[in-house]
């Protein structure tokens, strides 16, 4: 089995992360130099659940490298509707493309799919599991703003089901980062992620109240508290308001705090924050292009060198 799939941030070493981020910085500095770098290469976009940003940014990244994309379309219009297994789908698609980007609603889908193909496969989100390419652009953004060592990073919102959170938490264990997790008790980090952080010797604290920790943070990574996760609407309303960021909340923050969000946001960051020096989320989203270009460049270059 290939070793260069990107399945989980838990498998990302500091060395591999820095290689991607350095390459992304080079692309950012001179995008024209990469314009024909993978002319003729084809990337398959297999999205089994809706996506806007991730899908568009992989599509754009591939095209800016000179390649093209093939898109399986929606599940409703694909063979999946006829009952085809994921294993069969990716085995067919690997014959069409030089690399595959997969999003799927089931946890472990990317890991399983990678066992059936011999082209690089990128996990673009598997249920509540992992979203490692998002993490690479998150890290790129953090590095641009504050560096990646001697940091306090707060991660707030739905930590239980938030795959971007799980990936980011794993990746940050490679750096000298104090991680603060802020959530309602019912949405705290899942046991397997806490297990991994403990095993990695990460500096971790958990909170239910942002005020406890906000003044010491360099980065505040906000995620949406998902209404649909709560069996009781009142229970949702009770907690959701406590995790909303507005200008008043940020009075207690350091001036150089970066507020990040994987987007889409609903109401967890007030629009008034957009105009402050804290708002980093749109810059973060834009960073998806050079980072995914760098990721694809690495994977496709290795695939070519590997004789494909």
């Amino acid at each position: 089995m290939r070793q260069d799939h990107l399945i989980s941030a838990a498998n990302l070493s500091r060395e591999r992360i820095e290689a991607v981020l350095d390459r992304a910085a080079a692309i950012d500095a001179d995008p024209a130099a990469y314009r024909q770098r993978h002319a003729g290469a084809v990337l398959a976009l297999c999205f089994f659940e809706p996506s806007t940003r991730t899908k568009m940014s992989f599509d754009t990244a591939m095209k800016r490298l000179g390649g093209t994309t093939v898109d399986m379309g929606t599940v409703e219009s694909s063979s999946v509707k006829k009952g085809e297994t994921l294993a069969d789908t990716v085995r067919v698609v690997e014959g069409y493309a030089d690399a595959i980007v997969l999003r799927h609603p089931s946890e472990g889908a990317a890991k399983m799919a990678s066992e059936f193909v011999d082209v690089p496969l990128v996990n673009a989100g598997d249920g509540a599991g992992q979203h490692p390419s998002q993490t690479l652009l998150d890290l790129y953004t953090i590095r641009e703003r504050a560096g990646l060592d001697d940091l306090s990073v707060g991660i707030m919102g739905d930590l239980k089901y938030g795959r971007t959170v799980h990936s980011l938490a794993h990746a940050l264990t490679n750096f000298d980062v104090r991680q603060h997790f802020i959530s309602p008790e019912s949405l705290r980090l899942p046991r397997n992620v806490r297990f991994d952080l403990h095993e990695a010797g990460a500096q971790v604290r958990e909170h239910t109240d942002l005020d406890e920790v906000l003044p010491e943070l360099d980065v505040l990574y906000v995620t949406r508290i998902q209404r649909e996760r709560f069996p009781d609407e009142n229970e949702y309303r009770a907690v959701a308001g406590q995790y909303r960021i507005d200008s008043e909340t940020l009075d207690a923050a350091r001036d150089d705090l970066s507020v990040m969000h994987p987007l889409p946001r609903v109401d967890e960051i007030a629009p008034e924050v957009d105009e402050t020096q804290y708002a980093t989320y749109f810059e973060q989203a834009h960073n998806g292009i050079p980072v995914r270009m760098a990721l694809l460049d690495g994977l496709l270059t290795r695939a070519t060198e590997g004789g494909r």
Binding site: A87, S106, E107, G108, A109, K111, M112, G127, G129
Partner: protein, 154 residues
Amino acid sequence: MSDHELRVSKIRNGTVIDHVAAGQALNVLAILGIDGSEGEGVSIGMNVPSDRLGRKDVVKVEDRELSQSEVEVLSLIAPEASINIIRDYDVVEKSRVDRPDGVVGLLSCPNRNCITNDGEPIASKFTVVDDGVRCAYCDSIIRDGIADHLDVQT
């Protein structure tokens, strides 16, 4: 063997699995895929007194010697178990179980949203961690009640 174990008769050839945690005997048979349909004699002692465990189960399977891989998977639900291979009424080999690095196709992942529960052509795969097992696909950890997730009929 102690008098307590003589509650079920000695066997001539086969395996005695001793020091099984009380209440796990049927799961031991399930994990080994033994249901008597092959014609083998099976004897079970449940909740018999034990110096080491307080109460224990004992399983005796006639005319069958356990393989190393079978012994390994037993360790997940019966970590204190000892395996006695019997030939012509004598114990010819006695060993303790060892925890394996992983098990394949034996347990169902408790995460209903795990890809292994989606009808894909793959077997479940778990790695063994300090005090439980972990799904190699979705990373879910099972610590308690591992036998409840056996992917076999009990």
